[in-house]
């Protein structure tokens, strides 16, 4: 379950003495997504979609309000427990955020290695996922040697390899062609059916129509529609 209760977010900007002076990026947002739920997150550029997702995948702390992720009040956690909670969240970043000095294989293996899985498990799961995203023949390539779409598929594989309980994706189909996007959505809906809670931020209304699910719409940092 993901629960936001009167959540506000501000970023302190250079030159501002206090956080109070900063503008609100997220304003008084409350919602609840049950375990195994699926939500689209839509809104114009700059509306606050990415900031809302950052709060969900614990990259930011709210300025005010309460966030519960998988039954845990996130801001109360110590650093170790916060890290352990992050391992249960898969994230597909808009800009992929792959490690350039590692191969595609090692990038995908990273969450499993952080979780101290055996190399045997890592090899089996990573190879299977690489096959699924169609990049098994490019496992040893560095991200710079891959196209934008291929990098995005690596980022998606990394996000789901640990079988997360919550999957958060920021424009995951932005660099994919229709076939690849369709394949990705099959993977995500399969994960969702297995119990993973999914939140996907997108501009792609065609995708939203193709895979009907409750939609959260955000505008100027406020949740204007949820349902």
């Amino acid at each position: 379950m993901v629960r936001f209760e009167n959540v506000w977010l501000k970023y302190r900007r250079a030159g501002e003495a206090t956080l109070a002076a900063a503008p609100n990026v997220i304003s008084d947002i409350s919602f609840e997504i049950p375990d195994g739920g699926f939500r689209w997150l839509t809104g114009a550029s700059g509306a606050g979609k990415t900031s809302l997702l950052k709060l969900m995948y614990l990259a930011e702390h709210p300025s005010r309000g309460r966030i519960d992720i998988m039954g845990t009040q996130a801001v109360r956690l110590n650093r170790r427990d916060m890290a352990l909670l992050r391992r249960r969240i898969g994230v597909v970043y808009q800009d992929f955020r792959l490690l350039g000095h590692l191969s595609a294989y090692d990038n995908v293996a990273l969450p499993m290695r952080l979780a101290r899985k055996t190399e045997g498990q890592v090899k089996a799961d990573v190879t299977e996922l690489m096959r699924w995203v169609g990049l098994v023949d490019k496992m040893q390539r560095r991200p710079a040697e891959l196209s934008g779409g291929e990098q995005q598929r690596i980022a998606i594989a990394r996000a789901v390899v640990g079988r997360p309980k919550l999957l958060v994706a920021d424009e995951p189909t932005g660099n994919l062609d229709d076939d690849q996007a369709e394949r990705l959505m099959l993977l995500i809906t399969a994960l969702n059916r297995l119990g993973t809670t999914v939140v996907i931020a997108t501009h792609n209304l065609h995708l939203v129509e193709r895979y009907p699910a409750p939609c959260m719409e955000i505008a100027a940092g406020r949740l204007v529609a949820h349902g």
Partner: protein, 293 residues
């Protein structure tokens, strides 16, 4: 995390030349400081023993040489009977002439000055010389007795200050080494900021990241320290040769070698550098990570 994969790319992010070189220089200085401390302490013990134990007795000249001889014999008799006094011996005329030569010239005897007889001995008694002085004065009035205690205390003060200076240098060297490691670590953190943010976001513990940096910094510091300490050994040997006369070793006949304490301390330098590397890096990285959510 599996150790085979350099997740943070630290092999290229943390300076593999500058850090060992600077830590090596610090280790070189550390070995010199340790050698200085050990040498100062050793010389202090030796000099205090030599000067503190020396007893000098002056028997003023009498009107006749024969009379002075009997006074010297009387003084020697008192010294022989005094507990704590050993090796009493009257200096010969050539020895006295040699002592006076710097002040009176080569033919001091021609000046016919009333030169006192001088007796040297070793004093191992406790307490003051007052009782001995009284007995000597009774045997030969005007006799003076003095030990090197005053000089020994000055030597002790000098060597103590040398030891303290060497210890202060050692502390400064350790602090500079820590600062060097901290700067190198911060440079590595700045270079790998994005990678760290990514693996932090994937759920890496602070310890996972700090340990990666610490292992790298410790290895580089230890390598630098081994090289620096190794290079210092011949320099310390050379300095030991220069200092040999002060330690009572004749430079042309014997090599002073290195004291056992220094041989024992030498291997500790790389371990100390490694420990400084590990602790400093852990503090630096964990402090930096607290800036992330």
């Amino acid at each position: 995390m599996a150790n085979r994969v350099d997740h943070l790319g630290l092999r290229s992010a943390m300076a593999d030349r500058l850090l060992p070189m600077l830590v090596g220089a610090m280790s070189f200085l550390a070995v010199l400081a340790i050698a200085g401390t050990i040498a100062a302490a050793s010389l202090a013990r030796q000099w205090q023993g030599d000067t503190g134990a020396a007893l000098t007795v002056q028997v003023p000249a009498s009107a006749s040489a024969v009379g002075n001889t009997s006074r010297v014999q009387a003084v020697l008799g008192v010294l022989a009977a005094t507990p704590g006094v050993t090796d009493a011996r009257a200096l010969s005329t050539p020895e006295l002439d040699a002592l006076l030569k710097p002040w009176l010239g080569a033919d001091a005897a021609a000046l016919a000055l009333p030169v006192p007889a001088v007796i040297t001995a070793t004093w191992s008694g406790a307490g003051s010389l007052d009782g001995l002085r009284a007995a000597l004065d009774e045997a030969a009035p005007g006799t003076l007795a003095e030990t090197g205690a005053r000089w020994a205390s000055r030597v002790a003060a000098l060597t103590s200050s040398l030891t303290a200076s060497a210890a202060a240098i050692l502390v400064i060297v350790a602090l500079v080494a820590a600062a060097v490691v901290a700067v190198a670590t911060r440079a590595g953190l700045a270079q790998r900021r994005d990678s760290i943010a990514i693996i932090h976001g994937l759920g890496a513990l602070d310890a996972d990241i700090a340990d990666r940096f610490a292992v790298r910094a410790t290895l580089l510091a230890a390598v630098g320290a081994v090289i620096g300490a190794g290079l210092a050994v011949p320099v310390v040997l050379w300095l030991g040769t220069l200092a040999a006369p002060f330690a009572g070793v004749l430079p042309q006949t014997a090599s002073p070698g290195l004291p056992v304490a220094l041989w024992v301390s030498l291997p500790a330098v790389p371990f100390a550098a490694a420990a400084i590397g590990w602790v400093t890096t852990q503090f630096t990285v964990r402090g930096w990570l607290r800036g992330l959510a």
